[in-house]
Amino acid sequence: MDCEQIQTKIESYLDGELTLSDRRDFECHVSVCTGCSHKLESMRTIQKMIRNTGYSNTPSALKRNIQNQLRDYTGEEAKNSGWLRWVGFGGGAMAAGSLATWVMMTFLFITPLQTKITDEIISSHVRSLMVDHVTDVKSSDQHTVKPWFNGRLDYSPPVKNIDKAGFELLGGRLDYLQGKVTAALVNKRRAHIINTFISKNNHSEINTEPKLIQRQGYNLLFWKKNGLDYWVISDLNQKELTEFTFLISKP
């Protein structure tokens, strides 16, 4: 093989794709040809650089979400998720330890895109309080609020009545997030307003567990369910907001 032929085989050589006899010829040639040997080394360098980029860690919630989704498909009960563990079935006490782990875990998950969305959610929340435009439809009855969205959106946001648990429904309004018209539901706990933004996503099969994010003194929870993205935001404390999220997200 001459230099030109050798040089077309450098990558096949490095990728382990040469036949044994070609491999032998190749090695024979580069051992005596400085030009080809340098080109081989240059290619080897770039290959090493690429390999050094390595792996990004897989979010630990991903595996659990997949497993729960598969169980859902076969009609099995969901794996006892971290989510249920923290909140307890009645929305009761959370173990401080698991809450801490959870918070830390979710902090690692914030992507630049999520940061952008989070900023938008916070502005929307603040704006709704400032201009006293919390609701377009004022009602504590979910059977009034839910139909109000008909025709205003091409999806139907679920509206639950959880007054008894101390989260009074104030009503709903239309908001604008990520360039899309979005449903916003408003609840109240003592003096704290809770906004829940619900918008349609492209992944109808995907359900995720809520992630907690803390920013600018607000607590936010984000999850996906049945083709909808949910964002809950409030200045309410983490524990009660988590309870709220549990109540509106459970089936």
Binding site: M49, R51, N52
Partner: protein
């Protein structure tokens, strides 16, 4: 109808590849949250099709479904916006970096001594190239396997890899020059 036993067998075969699946999605879409969604969708699709899976290479099988899911999503997004198509991007870049091997001796030395991190530079490659590079360099698949996963001829895989590496060499050298000029 898939049963609990099927699910267990499926998990045993496919969950070991979860890291690879997530990283492939991440290399393709470059957004962690999107990548998670893609992998979750892909695993559900794979499970739905599990009855038809007769092969032995479960890794390559799940990779195929992940990349198809990612490309479907990207195509959907592309239809909804005015992005330049990926083919166009590849084409422009191909013109610019035709000669993979034409490094000067000085450039070769610079390359060898470079400590540039290529992760960000890889992001600048066309998506088809990133895919081939990931499957080859990070996952170690053979040309034949990559050709099956990406559903293109083996020759296309080879030329994508070659162009990708050639472009990266150039990008590393450009980056190095920039950093030297800034006195880093």
């Amino acid at each position: 109808m898939l049963t609990r036993k099927d699910r267990q067998r499926f998990e045993k075969l496919t969950l070991p590849h979860l890291g690879a699946a997530y990283n492939l999605a991440l290399w393709l879409v470059r957004d962690a949250s999107e990548a998670e969604d893609i992998v979750q969708t892909a695993y559900l699709r794979a499970f739905e099709a599990f009855g038809n899976f007769t092969g032995t290479n479960s890794g390559a099988w799940i990779m195929t479904i992940v990349r198809n899911t990612a490309f479907n999503l990207l195509n959907k997004q592309k239809r909804n916006s005015n992005l330049v198509s990926f083919d166009e991007v590849s084409h422009i870049n191909d013109q610019k970096y035709k000669n993979t091997y034409d490094l000067t001796p000085e450039e070769m030395i610079n390359l060898a001594s470079s400590n540039i991190q290529v992760a960000e530079l890889i992001d600048r490659l066309p998506i088809d190239y990133r895919e081939a590079v990931f499957l080859r360099e990070i996952e170690g698949y053979s040309y034949k396997e990559i050709s099956e996963i990406t559903q293109v001829p083996k020759g296309t895989v080879m030329s994508r890899l070659s162009r990708a590496r050639g472009q990266l060499q150039k990008l590393v050298l450009e980056q190095q020059k920039k950093e030297q000029a800034r006195g880093l």
